[in-house]
Point group: C2
Chain length 557, copies 2
């Protein structure tokens, strides 16, 4: 038989770790069965309910602190509730930091060489604190979640304009010059730099690198939404740029849950300009290839670590090469060859259009009219009703080659020639003359994927020789062609934003901590200069008052 | 100055290859600039328009044959049009086959050992011909496209019930016991069997295998829609089963454009029961791992060929192992670890639910209640408002472990334990006792991914030893855990459909060809016994009459 008692403290703010410790302390008291000490959000009330507490008669708002205790007697439950204030006071007395500034600006003047602020206050206050940190010229590690995407974009744009970095929101982890921020493993220092959106992705790669005998230069978190289209990868682009410039970083690892397609293309274009290898694992995003120039694609986090270590140990490291200009027009007879080419190119060549799009935004408005970079599957139903497949009949393709080549913006044509039974008995005899013809008129490259064997009726060597003599570049498998085209057409990346100075990532870090106090303890334990702000919600968390205060702070126009 | 003349032949049926040859012959006549000979579909009219023909005054229906010629003089254009019948007659006289049966049944009685019918008639007639072939007990290679998905499902179910196979519709290629059907390359015979949905995917893999010195046992096409949810992979499942039983096949390669998720899971479950390695490349589908048991995942077609050849040459080949039963419940603190686990498991473990679903149908109705196989990210916002992250606070997880373990259908719990700065100072001290507790109550497995290093404040070895002593199976990277769970939980596959007899794929093929005559020529050229049917549309293509004929054929109820 259990007796339950509760207490509600309206509008009280406590560090969530403090609450956890309080809950544990209460549950450990004599005669107590179970205890709950949480902010009374809907989710937390449900969780307490599923743990067996009956909260139906307790009224408490999301901003209220709710304490519930079930015990063997009413007395034991009452005793436990009665000890709450004493327990909180005792914890505070144990704190390692004597002086506690009450504001960020005061902390900044006590620790002027701090270049980083770690923020872990509740979500609705976090953007305000981050803005204050940026105004003080500090980089921000934003652990808090429940920050709106509008606030994220605003903060990141502001930071980017000033050469500062905002990691997060919902950034769980980073390793800045050997110091772990938030959740971070102790790993060897070394020549591998990591950029990752999410916490444990970054942790898994840094641990994987360490386990394989190598180490980490910097590990930068971006927050889980950075590679979504609304944010556009602002932090990830800064981070890749920083690691590309960092002389202590030899290999970059780029990890994220599936990014927005256009953001991925921009980020990979930036990565391609790095003069060092970049290992990419967009978890759950189909890899376009195993390798494209300096980009190496991994299937799992463990494989990303493995490839990075192997590249970090290798002496001959291939950097990026210059890309060309103009548009690609791919005219395919083979559907899967077209699809695999799309898949390989969409990561680095954009905008890319097709009559067989992988993503809806890639759909060509009219299959008869190419746009920008275009991959056409001429074997699609729309082209084959009442006429033979383009593997048998080159007529359509020949007409289209002439039309595409007449477009002065087109610099590269890509064709496939599929040999074998059933196919045209001598496709090169029809395609080679038109390739020679368009090349004679102006400077245009033609690449051909020839799929066939020496035993095929058309003869592989004989077909290749006709096509080569006409001036075509020959490939035998799609991935070779993808690598060539990606290198040839990939748009060079220009970063308009000011670079983040390397200095904030070198030397020993000094950090201001606002929010969860255990992060301060962790910094001190790592031997880093740090100061903890004794933060309280502005206007005691009253939203109306907060809005008025915020307005008063705004500069007059 | 060009002069254009045209001719329209209503309702005429011609083999599309014949039309192509006719077009070329016309274009080659003296004084002729260009010619078009096509069925007058909307698409073909547009294509002729874009080639410079003005068709605005020509009225012709989609079923009509349209012949247009532009020439230097009216006389030359008229002469060309006048030669059409003569050219068609001449081609017919050149045919290699003397006797031409007019019906499939008549062809079948002339070549009774034919086990295959190749069908390439226009789409709207194709299902009828295929049905007739199945009624005659023949396997079907259905090259035709524009066949409805309803017809495809009906034909494939009928075939499956009878131990017959329908490859297609829109199946471009196959190699049956060394004979190329449709478009097929001449490749070495060998121990690698291929199953592929699309034409050039299969061709690229067979050529890739050949180039690398190995060869093909059978290469089976399924048609591009087979792995969509409506069709459910009927042909692919038959094909994998057949190759699993085929003593001449040592390695299976499975290639497709992105399949439906549930169909992929069923197909991979079938592949896992094969006692030989299966190389999988679902192009554009993120690979769940590099290897799961006997399944090997490739990123590109070239890599699929490379892996298959290497496995085909290896002497120690790992087959499948038996799977267990019951449900998995994964309780994660790390979001990316949860995500990577989902990604790895969704291919083989189903149905799989989560509060962080990759596909919408995986979304858990209520995060507090697990369903079937479930992966929970306890670090999601819904669980962390007003309480610490589960890497700091084990309370929620401990409660949930007890609840999941109390469900008798649950046979495996999977946890992550993330060490390092910021995390709980000794998570195993709280988790190990509850692991031991649930294991003491009943037979349940607990697997733990421990992410950390020896240098972490908690000490990796010390944490692992506590967890091991409690009876947990320990992994250090997600992909190891995924391989274990996939092996342990993957649902064994039972194929209810009758197996397709190997006999149709052994010995020299004998084939009936209906439609494009050049496929017949290709079969004869390959030294195969074949017969070409002089097919004409039933009821001269009149849809009303066709419907009446079809009704008359139906068995009385």
């Amino acid at each position: 038989m259990s007796n339950t008692r509760h207490s509600v403290r309206p509008g009280a703010y406590y560090d969530s770790v403090v609450l956890m410790q309080l809950q544990k302390a209460l549950a450990a008291l004599p005669g107590v069965f179970d205890a709950g000490v949480v902010m009374a959000t809907e989710a937390n009330r449900e969780l307490l309910g599923s743990a067996g507490f009956d909260l139906s008669l307790i009224s408490a708002a999301a901003d209220d602190l709710l304490i519930v205790v079930s015990a063997e007697s009413e007395q034991a439950a009452d005793d436990a509730i009665g000890q709450v204030d004493e327990l909180i006071k005792r914890r505070r007395a144990n704190s390692s930091q004597g002086f506690r500034p009450r504001s960020l600006s005061s902390a900044a003047s006590y620790l002027p060489d701090a270049s980083w602020v770690i923020i872990s206050v509740p979500g609705r206050y976090a953007a305000g604190v981050a803005e204050e940190a940026l105004d003080l010229g500090k980089n921000v590690f934003l652990y808090s979640d429940n920050v709106t995407v509008e606030d994220e974009v605003r903060l990141k744009r502001k930071a980017s304009d000033r050469g500062l970095m905002v990691m997060g929101p919902d950034c769980g982890t980073a390793i800045i010059n050997g110091t772990g921020f938030g959740f971070a493993n102790h790993v060897r220092r070394g020549n591998i730099g990591v950029v990752a959106a999410s916490g444990t992705g970054l942790q898994a790669v840094t641990v994987g690198v360490h386990k394989r005998g190598a180490g980490i230069s910097q590990a930068l978190g971006t927050g889980g939404r950075d590679l979504k289209s609304a944010v556009g990868g602002i932090t990830a682009l800064q981070a890749v740029d920083l690691l590309a410039r960092d002389p202590d970083t030899k290999v970059i690892v780029l990890v994220s849950k599936p990014p927005d397609g256009a953001v991925a293309a921009r980020l990979l274009a930036a990565a391609r300009t790095a003069e060092k290898p970049v290992v990419v694992n967009f978890i759950g995003f189909p890899p376009p290839a195993t390798q494209l120039g300096n980009l190496h694609f991994a299937t799992t986090l463990a494989e990303a670590a493995r490839i990075a270590v192997s590249l970090g140990n290798s002496t001959a490291v291939r950097g990026s090469e210059a890309a060309g200009g103009g548009f690609l027009r791919g005219l395919f007879s083979g559907g899967t060859l077209a699809y695999e080419t799309m898949l390989g190119l969409q990561a680095t060549v954009s905008p890319l259009y097709s009559n067989v799009p992988i993503r809806s935004e890639q759909r060509l408005a009219d299959s008869l009219v190419s746009q920008d970079h275009t991959i056409l599957d001429l074997g699609e139903d729309e082209f084959t009703q009442g006429r033979p497949h383009p593997m048998m009949d080159n007529d359509l393709r020949i007409r289209r080659i002439r039309r595409e080549a007449a477009d002065p913006d087109v610099s590269l044509l890509l064709l496939d020639v599929v040999l074998g039974e059933g196919a045209h008995p001598d496709p090169a005899s029809e395609l080679a003359p038109v390739i020679a013809e368009v090349k004679s008129k102006r400077d245009i490259d033609v690449a051909v994927i020839v799929l066939g064997t020496e035993e095929d009726p058309q003869g592989l060597a004989e077909q290749v020789s006709q096509l080569s003599e006409a001036g075509a570049v020959i490939f035998y498998e799609t991935d070779q062609a993808v690598a060539y085209v990606s290198q040839r057409m990939g748009k060079p990346f220009y970063n308009a934003a000011p670079p983040v100075p390397l200095a904030s990532f070198q030397g020993s870090a000094a950090v201001i901590n606002v929010g969860v106090e255990s992060f301060y303890d962790s910094l001190i334990g790592q031997g880093v200069k740090a100061i903890h702000v004794d933060w309280r919600p502005p206007a005691s968390g009253n939203q109306k008052l907060m809005d008025i205060l915020a307005k008063m702070k705004q500069p007059k126009l």
